[in-house]
């Protein structure tokens, strides 16, 4: 027994096995493995055929190396039928078998492996007299591994296709939201202008008409806020971000300053509000939506809003607590969905909390609430450290 030859053969198997599955793209995976097999075994050609799903009389050429043939399909014939009826077989090229070849070949031996759902692999040695049974047995487990890698390629290409589809749909949605927002806002602005011109001639209008015009204006403002909200919501995780160190205490103070809240509401801001690494505009928007939500929920004579944070292992947990009307249990999930709002909240656009959830999700955190009807609500959210 030639020990050195045996070791060489085992290492050859190792080399083949290591060349499989290094790429998830079908052609690259085939290229890396099959070119190595051709080189090391001194073979000339290889190709993979698969029966056409729509036309049973044709086999499609899925891969070929070398690949100079114009022929992309091969008509069904007896040799192909007998190949695909087996797991593996070997035969000589004869005038009757050359019909299985994508290129003109007139000599040598062919080795076929059934790749199951992926078709069939043909290896051809132009100078080869025959493939020995040992050679076939050695290649068999390697081909089994190759089949597994082809399945992975198939899943990958499906996933890539889905991702591409999703990307396109996302882009379409984004474009749609932007177009709609722009197209809707423009007539609104025109209506606003027309109302203000009409009101300039108020002397000619009676009181009821004036009141109706005010009502129209109010509704226009609401619709404008709704459209801005939709646009903001659609862009929240798509806009380019600039992450920096953000002092959340400063952000909260700025937001409260901008909100112009009634003097009956007191804000208590914890000294422990941390510095986080995020996009300033997003964090501003997050606090703005939660604090304005707390302000608008206030029904007490003396309103108090607490903004606190506590440090957890992986993240910061923030809380915005108010002593307002509270939210019924049935709304606890629903209010984070777009256009969902509490029945009596007619001023709300139903978008603010959806934006909050989208921002928090963007940073890998979560948002939830606890509430007691009549006593108040606490919104919690987490941001990774």
């Amino acid at each position: 027994m030639d020990l050195s030859k045996n070791i060489s053969e085992i290492l050859q198997q190792y080399e083949f096995a290591m060349a499989i599955g290094n790429h998830l793209e079908f052609n690259k995976n085939c290229d890396q493995f099959l070119k190595l097999v051709l080189a090391r075994k001194n073979l000339s050609n290889c190709w993979i055929l698969k029966q056409n799903a729509e036309d049973e009389t044709q086999y499609n050429l899925r891969y070929a190396y070398p690949n100079y043939s114009e022929q992309k399909t091969i008509p069904k014939n007896e040799t192909l039928v007998s190949c695909f009826a087996t797991d593996k077989m070997t035969f000589h090229i004869t005038p009757t078998t050359d019909s299985i070849l994508p290129v003109a070949l007139n000599k040598g031996a062919v080795l076929f492996f059934n790749l199951k759902q992926h078709g069939g692999l043909f290896l051809h040695g132009a100078e080869k007299q025959a493939f020995s049974s040992i050679e076939i047995a050695q290649l068999s487990p390697i081909i089994d591994k190759f089949i597994v890698s082809l399945t992975a390629c198939k899943s990958y290409s499906k996933q890539e296709l889905l991702l591409k589809k999703l990307e396109n749909q996302n882009k379409e949605l984004q474009d749609y939201a932007q177009a709609v927002s722009h197209d809707l806002k423009s007539p609104l602005r025109n209506i606003c202008t027309l109302i203000s011109w009409t009101k300039e001639d108020a002397s000619k209008l009676d009181e009821a008409t004036n009141a109706n015009l005010d009502l129209i204006n109010k509704n226009i403002e609401k619709m404008d806020a709704l459209i801005s909200g939709i646009l903001e919501y659609s862009l929240v995780d798509k806009k380019k971000t600039l992450s920096t160190q953000i002092n959340t205490q400063e952000i909260v103070r700025d937001v409260i300053h901008v909100l112009h809240t009634p003097p009956s509401i007191t804000f208590i801001i914890s000294e422990t509000l941390p510095v986080v690494h995020a996009d300033k505009h997003r964090i501003q928007q997050l606090f703005h939506n939660l604090i304005s939500n707390a302000v608008s929920s206030m029904d007490k004579e003396k309103g108090v809003i607490h903004i606190t944070a506590k440090e957890e292992k992986q993240h910061w947990q923030f809380a915005v607590e108010d002593n307002g009307k509270g939210i019924e249990d049935k709304y606890h999930q629903k209010i984070f969905e777009i256009f969902q709002r509490i029945d009596n909240a007619t001023e709300s656009t139903g978008i603010g909390l959806s934006i909050v959830q989208k921002i928090v999700n963007f940073y890998g955190g979560s948002v939830w609430l606890t509430s007691e009807k009549g006593k108040g609500t606490i919104f919690y959210f987490t941001l990774k450290k």
């Binding site: 080399e15 075994k41 001194n42 100079y68």
Partner: protein, 364 residues
């Protein structure tokens, strides 16, 4: 034809006299005193169709020359083209239809010091496959300093290859004669032509140990080439002579730099050469080629420069013996060629880039 003249006008006139309906393949010796770029630009201004390369030495019959030009005229040319940017992953090979009922040879001269020669040959084979027989060699300087070394009617290039495809009956003989002394090993970490690890250990350490056991010589950076030229690697192939990879240098990290790519996880042997075995291999290559063709009229010998460096004075014997066999069949056969940085052939199947090998192509 061997041209000794250094006068560019005279060289061009000589070539012009022979080029009716043919393409001239020029083998230029690197130590020629001719201004090669001037020669190329002068040729470009004529109607001569040509491709060529600059080699460490050139061959005409059984003589090796350091200076001058050897010219081979090729008829029935289907296509000539250059492939540039071989050091990049994406290369473009033009599509050429080769009728299946005819016999073709694809002769290529590649910059032997460019990266990714394997990728170039792989793409060449993908495009033309078994419709043609391949033959060629690596051009470049023996100093291993990369510079423009291949040319055609359109330019004078580095990191490029030039190709001529012509209709002919051809037979090829490829042999090296190096024998295994140790192995198999696995090249467990490589990067193109650099072997970083063998059997998961520092490549130089493993290589050094084997050489020490065989010769007692302690291999270091400063004496690497003088010892390693006698101990190349062999890439194991089934039922065929292995493909030789020539380690030409090492570095302080203990990596081995080879001529030609060694893919990761390649199974390797360490080989050793005896002068007589190498010369016998050259005779075998000539016999294989001569037995596969009737009435050859032209021979191209692509022989590795490192065989000449290894065989030293006995290299003339290798060339004389190969010549003798070819001329025994037809003493009118024109024998031309070069000592190259790597040899190219599709002998018996897959297209390969060899080192330390002799490739003999015979044409009708």
């Amino acid at each position: 034809m061997y041209i000794e003249s250094t006068d560019i006008k005279e060289i061009v006139t000589i070539i012009q006299q022979h080029t009716a309906a043919t393409t001239a393949v020029l083998f230029v010796a690197e130590n020629s005193t001719i201004a090669i770029d001037e020669l190329v630009s002068t040729l470009q201004k004529t109607d001569i169709q040509f491709i060529g390369g600059i080699y460490p030495k050139i061959i005409h019959h059984d003589q090796v020359y350091d200076h001058g030009i050897v010219v081979v005229w090729i008829a029935d040319v289907l296509e000539t083209f250059a492939v540039q940017n071989l050091n990049h992953d994406q290369i473009e090979i033009p599509s050429v239809q080769l009728p299946a009922n005819k016999s073709f040879c694809t002769f290529t001269v590649v910059d032997g010091l460019t990266a990714n020669i394997s990728n170039y040959l792989s793409e060449l084979y993908r495009n033309f496959g078994t419709n043609t027989t391949f033959l060629g060699g690596g051009a470049g300087s023996l100093s291993l300093e990369q510079q423009p070394c291949v040319f055609d009617n359109q330019g004078f290039y580095m990191d490029a290859a030039v190709v001529v495809i012509f209709e002919t009956s051809i037979s090829i003989g490829v042999q090296h004669g190096w024998k295994k002394i140790a192995g198999p090993y696995i090249a467990t970490k490589t990067s193109n032509n650099v072997i970083e690890q063998i059997n998961w250990q520092n490549a130089l350490e493993v290589y050094k140990e084997t050489i020490m056991q065989d010769s007692g010589a302690d291999i270091r950076i400063d004496n690497f080439f003088s010892i390693a030229k006698g101990y190349p690697f062999g890439i194991v192939k089934e039922n065929a002579e292995c493909v030789v990879r020539d380690p030409i240098a090492t570095n302080p990290k203990g990596e081995l730099i080879c001529v030609g790519e060694v893919p990761e996880n390649t199974v390797l042997d360490i080989l050793k050469g005896e002068n007589s075995q190498l010369i016998d291999a050259a005779k075998d290559a000539a016999n294989i080629a001569i037995n596969a063709i009737e009435h050859p009229s032209q021979a191209i010998i692509i022989d590795c420069i490192s065989r000449a460096l290894f065989l030293e004075d006995q290299f003339t014997e290798e060339l004389q013996k190969a010549n003798g066999i070819i001329q025994l069949k037809n003493n009118a056969t024109h024998i031309s060629g070069a000592l190259t940085l790597g040899e190219i052939s599709s002998y018996n199947g897959f297209l390969e880039f060899f080192n330390k090998t002799i490739v003999i192509g015979l044409f009708k």
